[in-house]
């Protein structure tokens, strides 16, 4: 397995762990209503999204400096943002549809959702990047 591929598996695994932790924290700590009032809740969530971002930086930047990343790896890495872009667009579309359906009658969406949408997009984006790299290797091994 190429060093980059190994790191993409790590990125996917850790990204999934962050995503699950993100959802669990929201469920266990009272949902979006208590997010506004509970500072401890906000700090935990902040730690999660900053952690996901830092993990991505370590896996795909710092740790790659010590291993061989050749032109084929770079080509696969260069194609991964296509998957990332699609995942971000679908996540944003899901949020827009859901928020519109829930709050259409009131005409007001709580501002706290801006923060939640941003964090979820960030985590999905890091996950999709790893997934995009793995799909790239899978396609390269099948079709060349």
């Amino acid at each position: 397995m190429a060093p980059l591929q190994k790191r993409a598996w790590w990125g996917l695994g850790l990204g999934l762990a962050f995503a699950i932790a993100f959802v669990l924290v929201f469920i266990l700590m009272g949902g979006i209503e208590s997010f506004d009032s509970d500072q401890g809740f906000r700090i935990i969530v902040d730690v999660l999204w900053v952690g996901a971002l830092a993990m991505n930086l370590v896996i795909f930047n710092l740790s790659l400096r010590r291993v061989t990343v050749d032109e084929r790896d770079k080509m696969i890495m260069g194609r991964a943002p296509r998957i990332q872009w699609l995942a971000v667009v679908f996540t944003l579309a899901a949020w827009v549809i859901a928020l519109n359906e829930v709050y259409q009658s009131t005409g007001l969406v709580p501002a706290v959702y801006l923060y939640v949408v941003f964090m979820s997009v960030l985590i999905v984006s890091t996950l999709a990047y790893s997934l995009g790299i793995l799909i790239g290797y899978w396609r390269a091994s099948r079709n060349g």
Partner: protein
Amino acid sequence: MARINNQIRRLRFDHGEMTQEELAHRAGCTRQTIIALEQGKYLPSIELAFKIARAFGVALEEVFQYEA
């Protein structure tokens, strides 16, 4: 479609059964790229093609052949 064949596998064995890892190290790429090249699943850049030829100490045309 134009095809580019290569003799990497044969040349490795002709050069004292050079391992894929060793060739990858000499050419500055990963072993997975050498595997993909040998299986005809990846076309290298001109630069990598030259590096591979240099690793064997042969001309580029001895490693890669173009078939229209």
